[in-house]
Assembly symmetry: C2
Homo-oligomer: 466 residues x 2
Amino acid sequence: MQKEFLEVKKLYRNSEEFIGKTVHVAGWMRTSRISKKFGFIELNDGSFFKNIQVVLDEEKLDNFKELSKLPISSSLLIEGELVKVDNPKNPIEIQATKIEIEGVSDSSYPLQKKRHTLEYLRTIAHLRPRSNTFSAVFRVRSVVAYAIHKFFQERNFVYAHTPLITGSDAEGAGEMFRITTLDMKNPPLTEDGKIDYSQDFFGKETNLTVSGQLNGEIMALAFRNIYTFGPTFRAENSYTARHASEFWMVEPEIVFADLEDNMDLAEDMIKYIITYVLENCPEEMEFFNKFMDKGLLERLDKLVNSEFVRITYTKAVELLQESGHKFDYPVEWGCDLQTEHERYITEQIYKAPVFVTDYPKDIKAFYMRMNDDGKTVRAMDLLVPGVGEIIGGSQREERYDVLMSKIKEMGLKEEDYWWYLELRKFGTATHSGFGLGFERIIMYLTGVSNIRDVIPFPRTPKNADF
Amino acid sequence: MQKEFLEVKKLYRNSEEFIGKTVHVAGWMRTSRISKKFGFIELNDGSFFKNIQVVLDEEKLDNFKELSKLPISSSLLIEGELVKVDNPKNPIEIQATKIEIEGVSDSSYPLQKKRHTLEYLRTIAHLRPRSNTFSAVFRVRSVVAYAIHKFFQERNFVYAHTPLITGSDAEGAGEMFRITTLDMKNPPLTEDGKIDYSQDFFGKETNLTVSGQLNGEIMALAFRNIYTFGPTFRAENSYTARHASEFWMVEPEIVFADLEDNMDLAEDMIKYIITYVLENCPEEMEFFNKFMDKGLLERLDKLVNSEFVRITYTKAVELLQESGHKFDYPVEWGCDLQTEHERYITEQIYKAPVFVTDYPKDIKAFYMRMNDDGKTVRAMDLLVPGVGEIIGGSQREERYDVLMSKIKEMGLKEEDYWWYLELRKFGTATHSGFGLGFERIIMYLTGVSNIRDVIPFPRTPKNADF
């Protein structure tokens, strides 16, 4: 039956083809205004952000009376003529000749026309994708995900599926969730009274991954250029608007490539994504610009046409100190940059996206390449106006000896990294990579300020509903 | 630096553009044959399945001696002239004018030229992507993943990210992994001595998902057509060649669509994927056809050009009974079809892919649409030669009352399904969907017979290495 029903998106995009013809559409009644003999239904079929207006004429429809009493969100199968009307915003409508009721909605449907808070809408995550805001957000999310795949695949990158269940806390990037099938009440114990994970499902302690990077490096050192794109987890009790316990990450890794290549790739990717979503979701982006963030389209347009600034951490610290601005956290060389610092650099000093590179080694991960100064590593963060950090990456330490001494210096266990070290033993090569928090870019692109509103079914502390 | 180094894939695909010119490539030495004054290196740069031959001439290279002693898998930066040679299999080679050694490999490199068993290669998962077999498998895996996204996005499906951490065992599709941050040794207990999950991270018992379908239905009933594509988990102690604890699934869900639409979609998708991979990975597919499964290309070609058969379960049982074939498990109406039955139907009876529909309700899930006969449900399985079942799906029960009584009949808890039921209350609609085990299709396309060899870092009972 589906082929029979044209997508509303097609009616809008190729309206010339259908005007004057009989068309069939199927969708949900978003609103209706029906008088005794005449009426209008705003129908949304899910294929498109915009509704199509359906005109009801009592003389043409047997069930006109029934339709006039129908609760909103009822689903309808509609036959009618597509006609052109003199309305620049909605230049087409359907004059119905037959309307079949597919599913009558209950009048208690909670998404009535009045405005709801985003907080309330989170409690009806099974219905909120039917609202304008979430219809736009989740479609943009889908289109951006595809843009990311398209960007990398067109450049011959291999999409690498790195594991979510991990037996090592190798990156130490954050708190982890334990995975187990042991009886929680009577877990097996070893002789010295510890939990005996050798009897657990995987024969050892396992957790949910915090990053696919180390596995990604394996794949890159075979395929030259790879990317991961999948779920990642953090068991941190942070109730902020920017943190979720389950989120998606994109992690490209490139070989025979240094930090400059890494920044080029990040800049190209961001510009590609923005351009793609502007081209493919014009209605949704218009909506966000109007209702979420008035400067959005201008900001994105500017970003696509700007060259990203590249400065060192040392330079950034100097600039912040010279600025005379009073920060909550004073800046000095060696400290990690706070969001207020990052935003000041990108919003006040440069008014453009800024790569900050070569951070002090003590505030960065063990795998980042040591610079000749012995004090800094080849790290990079990309800061963008309105958000702050959106990408973090580095050139990786490719020298076996340097990596080994770093592992020891940081008190990590050599045996946990045996295969990671072997990558440096069997044909090591200069390589680099970065991580993009997928939700961060969606928030940036939509103007939505809470991460709970860009994930269909968010997981946060004390919340795993739906 | 990366832009300097042309991809070997480009040299092969656009060789006319580069012949007679100086090119730079970077890659790993797969093999070498070097005599006193002259030599050959087979270089693989990861961008392409095939190696490029590099010709070494002592008179042109200062470090010829050093190069002649280099262990395989060393990484090299090469400058030289691309020349045409009279060899249909490898029509181009590089006559090196300069070779820089990027990373010397250790001579203990385990992937020496001799053949290794797949079992052994699993123990060096950090190096096996550099072998011909795994280079081909994981590239095909990447290209198929992209083909799936492309197929659905071109048809205006929304890519829906359903959660991996779930608070409900709603589908009951299999054993689950528990996720917890509780102290395993001293978990908090409730007054009646049970584990007090209200003190766990999410405030309740949580597990890793076995299917995104129920959440997918939420999204479909807002967007008409959606698909999920992500990791899925089964905590089952099965040590078979076809089961992994972590694997990827594709689950489209379509609205205003019945089981016929569902089968059309599945058939179109399978044909699209195969056509795409044949076009985009000809070298890899040639390799599989030669070394993994001699009839592979012929079988795939036949499948793309065949019309898939559609029969009911009742008919399938009749055919199996009439066949006179002696099965390990005798067939009678009401039993679940075993792999031997499935393969007999698709390989012996029809010699083509077969959809089997309308299974007995007692062997299928609660959400499948009840037929008017009261005995069967609108389920479908797609069986393909060489594998058996590759897709399972159904039309979903869209009638509130029927679904409710089914939930009660099967002893499920109504409150666990409150939102799933509400989808039938607020504008329900005919809808359908299916699940494709991503690894199954990769195995089918490559001829690889063990699921551990189509996942870069497989998770199976007692194994979460790498």
